[in-house]
């Protein structure tokens, strides 16, 4: 009988997550993932004006800001039966791309890095050697002995104050930390630079979206930010895109590879089996054919066989979740309700999470950067393929290493590069449209009395679907199935583990009192629990046929 370890709260994520693992012989042999907060946004939407939905659902998450609003307006656009003008499509793509850039930078440095980087060790580094390391590995615009000495002094001052703040009572000195002090100091300096870069990158949302977090320029039918389609404003946006992309290419990716080179054994830990992506970034009205990031499903890690996505095969299972019992249903069917009591946590036999268990054809599927990169790679996507091959070569690891915590983390960086490059093309396209006299940003429409629509999207954390049914001109039914629900939900009624639960099996744990290794894999999924649990399906007896895509 192994030892049970509970980690609650999991920190450096969004939302409220509890992870429990059973450790035997120094490795994880079983794992349970539990979301501990339930808010009810899908219920709140019932009976409201469909045009308002995207403002409500955007508040599913402020880390994954924008993405739910995007998915929502697309679903309602679909229900109403309109296509937005090209400029609106481009601006929506640009805001999505900006979100990817921002989200991935913050994730790597501020949510994930401290699992791999020992801040206290940075205090012992030799600044001159750190400068030499940085010269060799990074193209960052800041460096030199004095620069790293200043960072070190700043950190030392902070530590000497005795007030360790966010660094207090952590796992410094843990045997699983493998970076030399100089690498730790380099990473710490870039952690601080990244704190400033993200504030600057967020201005992209403010330019076309009014503000960040929670941009406010999307509407059903298009976008409203017409005053920002001037040369100087677009140039401002382009400037920030380029600055952010420079950071991704010259700082983030080199740091990622440098850190990964010390942790290559993580290419064999934390992998999943099936992968799903809806695809993203339409370059015309043809969907999904024109997507920059392609749509597809991979079963059993078979990169030779990419299936098309049939979203009728998406179901959510609530057997092990705190809802009234029900058979697994497609988002538009069935009747599920949260239990109306203080939930009892029973991971061994009963219900143990507020998250539901999404399944595709009954299978758990990993969603997110790795799913996207694998599908794109298998489909011969030029930029992604080049990025993957270069990464495998530089780290000298086999392709099988992609199916792991290291692979997932590397994929996040690779797609940031590709999307950042693509964004500059979209800006050029926008400028060309405007030069040619097409300034349309909005498609007028009539709200139908009854209609149904769906928006399938891929956003930084993975595959995101929003489904709406309009009845008497109001929201009759609203459902969304979210990336972190796919990745961090519980087991289903058939006993299949969710992706994170499967990924944790086999993780080495050197010290059960300090389960740092467990955090590495959990964080690699970039969990967002506020997204994962938005709540119950509204009562519905009708079966709705979703278009096969």
């Amino acid at each position: 009988m192994g030892k049970r370890i509970t980690i609650d709260p999991i920190t450096r994520i969004e939302g409220h997550l509890r992870i429990e693992v059973e450790v035997e012989g120094g490795k994880v042999v079983n794992a349970w993932s539990s979301g501990t907060l339930f808010r009810g946004i899908e219920v709140i939407l019932q009976g409201r004006d469909p045009r308002d939905a995207h403002h409500f659902v955007q508040r599913s998450c402020g880390v994954c800001t924008y993405v739910h609003a995007l998915a929502s307006v697309r679903a309602v656009d679909d229900a109403v039966g309109i296509k937005v003008p090209a400029n609106a499509r481009l601006i929506r793509n640009l805001l999505n791309g900006a979100q990817y850039q921002h989200d991935h930078i913050v994730h790597f440095y501020h949510l994930h890095a401290l699992d791999w980087v020992d801040i206290v060790s940075a205090l012992k580094a030799d600044p001159a050697k750190t400068a030499a390391l940085a010269d060799n590995t990074s193209n960052a615009p800041w460096g030199g002995r004095q620069y790293f000495k200043n960072v070190q002094v700043r950190l030392q001052t902070f530590v000497d104050s005795g007030q360790l703040g966010p660094f207090a009572n952590a796992y410094w000195g843990h045997s699983a930390y493998q970076l030399p002090p100089e690498a730790n100091l380099m990473a710490a300096a870039h952690y601080i630079e990244a704190l400033r870069m993200q504030a600057k990158a967020a201005r992209m949302h403010a330019i076309f979206g009014g503000k960040n977090p929670h941009p406010q320029s999307l509407v059903v039918g298009g976008v409203t930010s017409v005053a920002d389609l001037t040369p100087d404003r677009i140039a401002e946006f382009l400037y920030i895109t380029k600055e952010t992309q420079d950071f991704v290419k010259n700082v983030y990716i080199p740091d990622l590879l440098a850190v990964a080179s010390f942790y290559k054994e993580w290419g064999g830990i934390g992998g999943c089996t099936n992968f799903l992506t809806y695809g993203e970034f339409p370059s015309s009205e043809q969907e999904p054919e024109s997507f920059y990031i392609p749509r597809g499903i991979i079963r059993k890690r078979d990169l030779g066989k990419i299936e098309m996505v049939d979203q009728q095969k998406v179901t959510e299972d609530v057997t092990r979740s705190w809802y009234v019992k029900s058979e697994p249903k497609h988002p538009f069917e069935g009747e599920t309700r949260p239990i109306e009591e203080n939930p009892q946590y029973d991971p061994d036999k009963g219900q143990y999470s507020w998250a539901k268990a999404p399944r595709y054809d009954g299978l758990p599927c990993e969603v997110g950067p790795l799913a996207r990169v694998l599908v794109a790679y298998a489909k011969g996507h030029a930029e992604i393929k080049a990025g993957v091959e270069s990464t495998l070569k530089q780290l000298d690891i086999p392709a099988s290493a992609l199916f792991s915590t290291l692979g997932r983390t590397a994929a996040r960086g690779l797609e940031a590069v590709a999307i950042g490059e693509a964004m500059q093309g979209w800006v050029t396209e926008l400028v060309e449209n405007l030069k040619n006299g097409d300034t349309r940003t909005y498609q007028p429409y009539e709200m139908p009395e009854s209609a149904s629509g769906v928006g399938l999207n891929d956003v930084p954390r993975g595959a995101l679907g929003h489904w709406i049914r309009i009845e008497d001109g109001k929201i009759g039914n609203y459902q969304y199935v979210v990336p972190s629900t796919w990745n961090l939900g519980p087991r289903d009624g058939a006993g299949n583990l969710s992706p994170v639960e499967e990924a944790l099996i086999g993780t080495p744990v050197a010290d059960p009192q300090k389960p740092l290794e467990v955090l590495r894999t959990v964080h690699s999924f970039d969990p967002c629990l506020a997204c994962a649990i938005h709540v119950i399906d509204p009562h519905s007896n009708e079966v709705y046929k979703i278009k096969v895509v």
Partner: protein
């Protein structure tokens, strides 16, 4: 200034000129509504020897983390300066290195060590139905945690709509009995309203506290008057269009391109107290009306129910 571990010397070492530093203090002072005479005093707050930075314990309840993210966007001062030189962020789940048991130990140690002296920042609403069972951390409900920790703080600052007034989850039908922290506990809180608020308003409140040793003057909803004393409408650059009855009636129209008043497409500016037109977001880049979209009224209590449908005029 003497060598030492003070904020001014550190930013000087990073190449920020004294001129820029004073510009920043001036901006912050102006935002806080203080006279020019206070500029040097604000400068002193940040230049003071940081032998003991003021402790802050940040609690997350039913929230989306948008308010933490908004704070991360601060550029006056930068978030790294706020975290490393100005405040001592004793507990913040989004950024802290420790997890699980170590995180909980840190929370309790910080509360114990700084009892009566820490600022408790609350983000997110507290559930009251089913004994608060819809929201838990470390096996305890948010209600239990708030009841234990908030009374031990020197002050409770609610950042955002959820902790101030209940927020999105409190919108009808409010399945979890979600309430703002003040209402759930029956205590007075200072409420930095907005969904999310402009970080300038949060930082301004903290600076006011560091400067005067007390929190700024507030309105009857607990919102600092320096930021929430006037309506959007009274500060709006499109006000002359309102007065001239020049309205946008449909998005994408020539009137929209001309930046006409958004009243007829649902702007809540006349009934919303906040400083968005003046402070603007993300280093003064923009705000919703400038981006062509009506104000939602997101700094008003229960705006999700009271201000909807958003696109129908008031």
């Amino acid at each position: 200034m003497e060598k030492g571990h003070n904020f001014y010397n550190r930013i000087k070492a990073k190449g920020v000129s004294r001129r820029d530093f004073m510009k920043f203090c001036t901006f912050l002072t102006a935002t806080m509504g203080l006279s020019a005479a206070y500029v040097s005093k604000v400068a002193q707050v940040f230049a003071a020897p940081s032998s003991q930075r003021p402790p802050v314990i940040w609690l997350h309840f039913a929230e989306c983390t948008g308010c933490s993210e908004a704070t991360l966007r601060t550029m006056y001062p930068w978030i790294d300066e706020l975290l490393l030189e100005v405040l001592s962020m004793e507990y913040h789940e989004t950024i802290m290195a420790a997890a699980g048991r170590q995180a909980e130990e840190q929370l309790h140690a910080a509360v114990e060590k700084h009892k009566g002296k820490f600022i408790c920042v609350c983000e997110g609403a507290v559930g009251t139905k089913f004994n608060g069972g819809y929201g838990k951390m470390g096996g305890r409900t948010f209600l239990e945690i708030a009841k234990e920790i908030c009374p031990q703080a020197a002050a409770v600052v609610c950042i955002g709509q959820c902790s101030s007034f209940g927020g999105i989850q409190a919108a009808a039908p409010n399945l979890g009995g979600w309430k703002g922290v003040g209402e759930a506990l029956g205590i007075k809180t200072i409420n930095i309203a907005g969904c999310p608020p402009n970080p300038v308003n949060f930082v301004g409140t903290i600076v006011n506290y560091l400067l005067f040793g007390k929190l700024p003057a507030v309105d009857d909803l607990g919102r600092p008057l320096f930021a929430y004393g006037k309506t959007i409408h009274d500060q709006c650059p499109r006000r002359s269009h309102f007065e001239n009855e020049e309205f946008v009636e449909e998005f994408g129209s020539p009137e929209a391109a001309m930046g006409y008043c958004l009243y007829k497409v649902g702007c809540r500016g006349p009934e919303t107290y906040n400083n968005c037109p003046v402070a603007k977001f993300n280093d003064g880049t923009s705000w919703p009306v400038e981006a062509g979209h009506p104000c939602l009224g997101c700094s008003e209590p229960n705006f999700w129910d009271k201000m909807t449908p958003f696109y129908e005029p008031l």
